[in-house]
Symmetry: none
Subunit: 240 residues, 4 copies
């Protein structure tokens, strides 16, 4: 990508107030490798998600990681390598939006009766839409979507993990259906449908900035709730 476009590039409107979460260490401190790595990846995530891969500079990352540019290269062979490591790590400590899946799966597993279905749904929604208020999460997702295709091999593990989670949840849901806890429906045919509206919400967040989607998001969530309730409540429950 261009190297000196930067200046001209509209720095992402997503960009918040430059979080700078990483406390600036007194520099030149020698740190255990692992700790340094983490610092770097934290910094890199921020920078990549703020600027995109192309517009991110090693200097930016280094500065945020509290070290010099050259120092980065003691830990990562290249910018590309940093990027991939960031992507890799996305799914380890934090399952990104796959976690929704997992969360919902647990919730589903836990549900017992009609009241708990509603509350399980609410919990799921709270978790899912709550994340959209987390600027970091939104950026990360955006990074994944925007730049992921650039590094398909880095994407692979993510895809695998995602698939696995989906499989698990699908199994749980199917089980819940056959036990009568959930109604058989399009949503139970394919659990992704359960998450689709959240993804839509996230995309709107990218494209429209936090405030202006506020209302839409609320309505979307309400409709989503209705959808889940209507589609998932077992016949008996729904009819009663």
């Amino acid at each position: 990508m261009s190297k000196h476009t930067r200046t001209r590039e509209t720095r992402g409107s997503i960009t918040g107030p430059a979080p700078d979460a990483t406390a600036r260490q007194p520099r030149n401190r020698r740190l255990p490798a692992q700790e340094r790595q983490d610092q770097i990846l934290d910094a890199a995530l921020l920078v990549f998600s703020e600027r995109g891969f192309g517009a991110a500079r090693m200097d930016d990352i280094a500065e945020r990681a509290g070290m010099s540019k050259g120092g980065l290269y003691a830990h990562f062979r290249s910018k590309e390598a940093v990027f991939e490591a960031v992507l890799q790590r996305m799914l380890m400590p934090d399952l990104l939006f796959s976690e929704q899946v997992a969360g919902s799966a647990e919730a589903d597993v836990a549900l017992q009766d009609s009241s708990s279905l509603a509350s399980a749904i609410d919990e799921f929604l709270e978790r899912a839409y709550g994340r959209l208020k987390d600027e970091r999460f939104v950026r990360t997702l955006h990074l994944l979507i925007a730049e992921g295709p650039r590094a398909p091999h880095a994407l692979k593990p993510w895809n695998l993990r995602h698939a696995e989670l989906l499989r698990k949840q699908q199994a749980a849901v199917t089980q819940a259906v056959s036990s009568g806890q959930l109604r058989d429906s399009a949503l139970t045919d394919m659990v992704q449908l359960i998450h689709a509206p959240v993804l839509l919400a996230a995309i709107l967040r990218f494209l429209q900035d936090a405030e202006s989607v506020q209302v839409t998001l609320a309505k979307l969530r309400a409709a989503h709730r209705r959808l889940l309730l209507e589609s998932l409540a077992p016949k008996a429950v729904a009819d009663s």
Copy 2:
């Protein structure tokens, strides 16, 4: 030879076989401004969507447009300007995925009875999922999502148009509900829910490349179909 040539960058896996649809003119031919502009924007769309804004080079665009790099600047002030023009044009001839909305709206309006509901849905699905086979469309969408936030002002008209179409369709759907053609449901509360699965499908396309999602897409479409049928069919019809 060099240490950090562009080549290093993983050129987007999306990248097809370099279409080069634009027949290379005999160069130096003077063209009407409008025609040139179109050529340039065609070329730029390809290049931007293949590489992303950052990695796209004016040279690439120029070459694809069959002219010299410098020549571009007779028509656009900067790379940024080309990018914005591309985004602008996205919504003129072709309403991007908003058009799905419009299409579906017409379909909805047209529906009369149960059989036509099913076929309207099928038409909608055909159009919506059919687009995902169009590499160009997918790239464009990806570009919009990935790089749009970089140029929020260029995004504004798109947002407006999109909002307008949604409004229209929402009105049509609400009307269809009160006339009994559609059942009142979460999906009619908020038409976006109708499209959400398609967006999910599109995102999967970005992240996983055409072939590997093939199966998932088919299943998703089927589930989507079931969802629409179950949720939208008027009670009487559904119960009969």
Copy 3:
């Protein structure tokens, strides 16, 4: 010179309010060659003196001359050629600061008695320092000094003319000395000394902008006057 520095170059502080004296013709008008040439050279003088040779663009000149860039090339082979033509013309209608010399020479020749010496000096000073209020003159002189060395061959005729004028005036002055009208002094040894302070004044104008030199210029002129009176007045007159 650099071609795209321009934007960054501090546009000369000398630059006044963009004179634009040349009335913008309705374009595309076909004009007699001579008239066009003049228009072009007028425009070119302005642009060159405002920006310097390097930063001046053919577009600028063309626009100010009320024609298209390409049109220039019907009259001049190159930017260099325009520049030289400008320099050439400097000495035809207007002898630049050589004219001061000439003017003063005539004045000298005319002087008869003590009162007319004083008034001749005052006339000379008025003419010489008056010019410094003429932004155009100052710019032209600056252009000559700043860019002249770039085109020594274009400078040659100017130098010849200048030398001739000096010779003439030197002769007149020497004559005036032997006839007792002027006292023999350093200034009559070398007429350039008579003009030196004006040149100093002009240089200050370049380096300090009109207003801030105002006072200095006035004082310089007064001192210059005293110098001329004291040095040139014949003994008898001075002693009386």
Copy 4:
């Protein structure tokens, strides 16, 4: 081959034999920042004064400084910045032609009797006209006059320093007048008049190249000497 290569431009006739004083270091050597800066500014002064700001290329400067073009940017933000730094430095180690003023001031202060006035004057002239043989000095002065107006803020400190020196000398001269060492005259009214002929000489150097002015310069210097002697020698001395 090309149509408008740099080569076309008449490279300044001032241009000497490309001094290249700076011995080419073995490259890539890491130097203390200050030393590098100096190397760069030395190189830049040469290049700017040879070609003028516009025609100077960063490549040229880099090459003369014995480093790569990109390396310059570790020390200076832009070409403009280099230029300003060059101008700044002009007045630090070496007060440019202001120093003449200072030198002369000291000389004046030192003068005691008629013999020392003559020798003080000769020293002053030697210093002043001697500089004109220094190609570097002449170029620097030309640069200041030609390109200074382009960067008025860089000029300001120079102006201040210059003004201060003038003030000092004016005071010294006025003092010398009241103590009877110098005669009250136009030249003591305004010390600039003392220097004016030197400036004229310098300008001639720009416009006419070293050899052809040789004679003129000698004559000018002689006349200048006479002027100073006649004007500055105290009455008694002059009359005796």
